[in-house]
């Protein structure tokens, strides 16, 4: 039995020896094994790994949408029971409701609980125009491009000013150019708001560009194989990706994955 690693004193999210096991017709399946992860307040942490490594499961656990099978999971110093307060989530699909305008979609999370106040409406409008969606507030989702829809879904997650933002491959379905745009916009908004952010992706470049730390996960059963601190100056512009340091971070992560037989070098 390994000694339990020291808990980071001021961590906002803290996972200790977290395991997740699913029942299946062929017996129990381990999705995640022995996950130790601390996310400090205002930290941007990315989890990168191959498809099916359980990184989305990890996000669902932290969101309180699924229960851990073993270990402990604290959010804001309390063991997690169901979705915590002050949480925003963005999924790969924007899941906007087709019958609501963009503004009404952004207001949805409030409207599910109570009537939105006038200042919340204004806040939603301000968020939308900040993401370049000014003038599109009263359009319907199907009148917008994929990138614009995903921007709206980020506004929806940010509206309640959450403490913790979880993003599950939010740019995975977008074309490369739109994805670059949204990377820059997200880096900027994070710079301004300093949300504690857990970001799931399978793009190493995206993870390095956005994060303070990149957590690498292995193939199923999902385990953390390495954590790399990204010490690139902020604010980051796309040009940072041409720098030698950036390339060396990407190389280091890719090389490590190659050693594990997860990617070809």
């Amino acid at each position: 039995m390994l000694a339990e690693p020291a808990r980071v004193a001021d961590a906002y999210v803290s996972l200790r020896r977290v395991g997740k096991t699913y029942a299946s017709s062929r017996g129990p399946v381990n999705a995640l094994v022995g996950i130790d992860l601390d996310i400090r307040p205002h930290e941007f942490v990315s989890v990168v790994g191959p498809s099916g490594c359980g990184k989305s499961t990890l996000l669902k656990l932290v969101a309180g949408l699924e229960e851990i099978s073993s270990g402990s999971l604290l959010v804001g110093d309390a063991p997690l029971r169901g979705p915590p307060d002050g949480l925003g989530v963005v999924f790969q699909r924007d899941v906007l409701l087709d019958w609501r305008t963009i503004l009404d979609n952004v207001l949805l999370s409030i409207e599910l609980v109570r009537k939105p106040r006038a200042e919340e409406r204004e806040r939603a409008m301000a968020l939308l125009s900040r993401f370049g969606l000014g003038g599109f507030e009263h359009r319907f989702p199907w009148e917008l491009s994929g990138g614009m829809r995903q921007r709206a879904s980020i506004c929806r997650a940010l509206l309640a000013d959450p403490n913790l933002l979880l993003m599950d491959e939010p740019f995975g379905a977008l074309d490369a150019m739109t994805r670059d745009d949204l990377n820059v916009e997200l880096a900027q908004i994070w710079q301004d708001t300093r949300k504690t952010l857990l970001f799931i992706t399978h793009s190493i470049v995206e993870a390095v560009f956005l994060s303070d730390r990149v957590v690498m996960m292995s193939r199923a059963p999902g385990m953390i194989v390495d954590t790399i601190t990204i010490d690139l100056p902020r604010p980051r512009r796309l040009a940072v990706r041409d720098s030698a340091e950036f390339a060396s971070y990407v190389h280091r992560i890719r090389h490590h994955f190659a050693e594990l037989g997860i990617v070809k070098e």
């Binding site: 969101a63 979705p83 925003g88 999924f91 899941v95 409701l97 999370s109 599910l112 609980v113 199907w142």
Partner: protein, 269 residues
């Protein structure tokens, strides 16, 4: 009316096609009857059918009105009860296992065969007609609405849980609007089924309605009057279907199937 003429003459190809096809079939029918002179007992000409209607138009319309009323009450009840049942089935495991299974089993019985039973239970008044219309209409409503309520994206439901939405809010703000396109698909089937149900009810027992008119005309070998009734039923059935279709277009302009239509009409304009 003048708008319709404008659409027909003004190059709206959909309306023009329909009118042309109908007119040509009626002309062929009329010409065929005049040419081959079949016994009027077998096939009367369209002009003879119209003449028979004009002899006693109010009588036909009164009976048609009764059948229409039975259909609409049965249809309305099947929508209300069907949606309520579907919600229960989606939200309760118990109801899903019991009611849903029972409904599917019942659906495999030819329901028209149950009509005489309803006459024994409810007599020969309007009740058995409404009940049979309801019984036929409710299946497509329940089955399609259950499907629609379940078609919500699981990520959307996760989002609702993160927002701490009540199940009532999830039902009214997410699940139900999401199920509306399926509900309308069910309603389009149900409206035709309800008309069949009302008619079967009149066939089995009763002294009123267009189904009763058909039986009386059959008893007298009055083929022309049978055809008048059939023609009226065809017209009413078509109107009912398109009324549901129109309501769908008004209520669901956001749905994929409607969007294509909007774009097509925009292209024409």
């Amino acid at each position: 009316m003048s708008a319709l003429f404008k659409r027909v003459l003004g190059g709206d190809s959909e309306a023009r096609d329909i009118v042309v096809v109908l007119a040509v079939s009626l002309l062929l029918w009329e010409a065929g009857v005049r040419l081959f002179q079949p016994s009027p007992l077998i096939l009367p000409a369209p002009t003879a059918i119209v003449a028979a209607f004009m002899e006693t138009p109010l009588l036909f319309l009164r009976h048609l009105g009764f059948t229409l009323l039975m259909t609409l009450i049965g249809f309305g009840l099947s929508v209300v009860l069907g949606v309520a049942l579907a919600v229960g089935i989606v939200y309760s495991r118990f109801l899903e296992r019991t009611v849903y299974t029972l409904l599917v089993a019942l659906n495999s019985i030819p329901k028209v065969a149950l009509a005489p039973l309803f006459v024994i239970w409810m007599g020969t008044g309007p009740q058995p007609k409404i009940a049979i219309a309801l019984m036929l209409g409710i299946f497509p409503i329940v089955i399609d609405t259950v499907l629609g309520l379940r078609s919500v994206d699981p990520d959307m439901l996760s989002l609702a849980r993160v927002s701490k939405a009540s199940s009532w809010a999830v039902l009214t703000k997410i699940r139900f609007p999401c199920a509306l396109p399926s509900l309308f698909a069910g309603m389009k089937v149900a409206i035709s089924f309800a008309l069949v149900g009302a008619l079967v009810g009149e066939f089995v027992a009763g002294s009123y309605g267009i189904g009763f008119q058909i039986l009386v005309a059959q008893g007298n070998f009055d083929t022309v009057r049978v055809f008048v009734s059939l023609l009226l039923l065809g017209i009413v059935g078509t109107i009912l279907f398109f009324l549901v279709d129109y309501a769908e277009r008004l209520l669901l302009p956001w749905h994929v199937s409607q969007r294509a239509r909007h774009e097509r009409s925009a292209d024409r304009a």
